[in-house]
């Protein structure tokens, strides 16, 4: 199973400790990695098809990025070999611009049928990875819902978009969708682990799908309530801003 990590801070943060830890803990995911972050409001992504961890060493570029990235929001993804062709060629970490924001999207899980989805909007993500279709689907829904009802909050628009997504394309979803200010995290089949840490530059909130977290600290879990379609969390800076069922 792939894994994802998000780091959210009040002010620009360099994840030199937590990104390598994530790579080490996610080392069973052997099929590549990606890191997304923001610079001057623009989402940027660095990806690789190489293993994130080999021979007791975190991938050199991954380590360097961990020392250099300076962003309020950082999202990382490590890929697994379990889902065959879906994962072979491309990362599951994307950037796209819509609703006046540059967004980073990272997804883990298996969804059948969504690779058939064809977006009516531009841009269409070039990659054939099904996660790209999920992002396009969410983008299309969000644009439509925000235009239809400007009184709806962004989280309400995303919530109804996810309901539609899960209804149209049932499957296992766990994703981060982040702009330069907030992270939306949704999951319907695993748990998210959270840790709030005090750092020299202020506090950070870590969110991951890794079952054991990144450290022996007191991580706390949020998982979907039985009977719900999933759990959605909104993170702003080092704070959990909102938690709700979908």
């Amino acid at each position: 199973m792939c894994d994802i990590l998000a780091v959210s801070a009040g002010y620009n943060y360099t994840p030199k400790e937590y990104l390598p830890l994530f790579a080490e803990r996610g080392r069973r995911n052997m099929n590549g990695w990606g890191v997304g972050f923001f610079r001057d409001g623009q989402a940027l992504v660095e990806t690789s098809l190489e293993q994130v961890y080999t021979g007791y060493q975190v991938h050199e570029s991954f380590q360097r990025l961990a020392r250099v990235i300076d962003s309020r929001i950082i999202v990382a993804h490590v890929r697994c070999p379990l889902s065959g062709d879906h994962h072979r060629a491309d990362s599951h970490l994307f950037t796209i611009s819509f609703l006046d924001h540059s967004w980073v999207f990272a997804h883990v899980g298996m969804v059948e049928g969504i690779e058939q989805y064809r977006t009516p909007n531009d841009p269409r993500l070039e990659t054939e990875v099904y996660s790209a279709r999920i992002l396009e689907y969410l983008r299309d829904q969000l644009i439509c819902r925000c235009a239809l009802n400007p009184y709806l909050s962004l989280s309400a628009c995303l919530r109804s978009s996810v309901q539609e997504l899960v209804s149209d394309y049932p499957g296992h979803y766990a994703f981060f969708l982040a702009n330069e200010s907030v992270i939306f995290a949704f999951c319907n089949f695993r748990q998210f682990l959270f840790l709030r840490e005090a750092e020299s530059m202020g506090e950070v909130l870590l969110v991951t799908t890794l079952e054991e977290g990144l450290s022996p600290n007191n991580w706390f879990a949020l998982r979907p309530v039985e009977g719900s379609q999933g759990i959605m969390v909104v993170v702003a800076g080092p704070e959990l801003l909102h938690v709700g069922d979908v």
Binding site: G41, S153, L241
Partner: protein, 247 residues
Amino acid sequence: MCDLFAVSAATNYSAPKALPLFASRASKNMDGWGIGYFRKARAVVERSAQRVYSPGQLHDSYQRLARVVNSKIIISHVRFRTSGPVDECHAHPFILNFCGSDWLFAHNGNAPAIENYRTHAEVVAGAASDSARAFEYLRDQMVSLWQGAATPSALFDFVCQGTGRMIEEYPGDYNYLLSNGLVIFAFTNHRQFMLLKGSRKLEAALLLTTLEEGLSDENWLRMAKASSGRGLMLAIAGTDVVVVRSL
């Protein structure tokens, strides 16, 4: 009636157009003004007990501050006194530190019942108004919820619960902006918030004001409590209203 104005953006922003316009449109408020913002994690406030606008002329300091203040979140208040004396201490925004952050608070409304509230924690220095007591009450509620939570819980819920208790225990007209530098919580139970994003005439950040006609002839969105509700709470991060809840 006092008036409120806020700018929220993803990156540091100035509001040299919108701030003066707000002051001039709110010019009937003659009992002081304040501009609050964040420098890194610290809340900073510039306040005055003087009129923000005399016929044809904006207060010199306000005008200069409008050009210079540079922050992801800027909150301004112009005062029409309904509680407490007219002096600098009673001009908003106020600052308190709690739950690990500096917080700015600016309020308009009329809630005489809460003037009797006495906190056991730090008070808003020198202020004897309903607004100061409301801020202290909210702080006390949020700290209590924060410390009582078994696991870290959602900040939005704390603010909503604290506000719900406040309007139940101390009924009144509340319209406030509360910010930790990352999010603005905007609550109203008696007026409206007018919101505009991506203005072509003013700044393109998210602009919010209590002035019912907004600050330009663009499509300002009016958000107010439902007639059957107790109030409306918004959470604003960057240029978006991220969460809305009717209390």
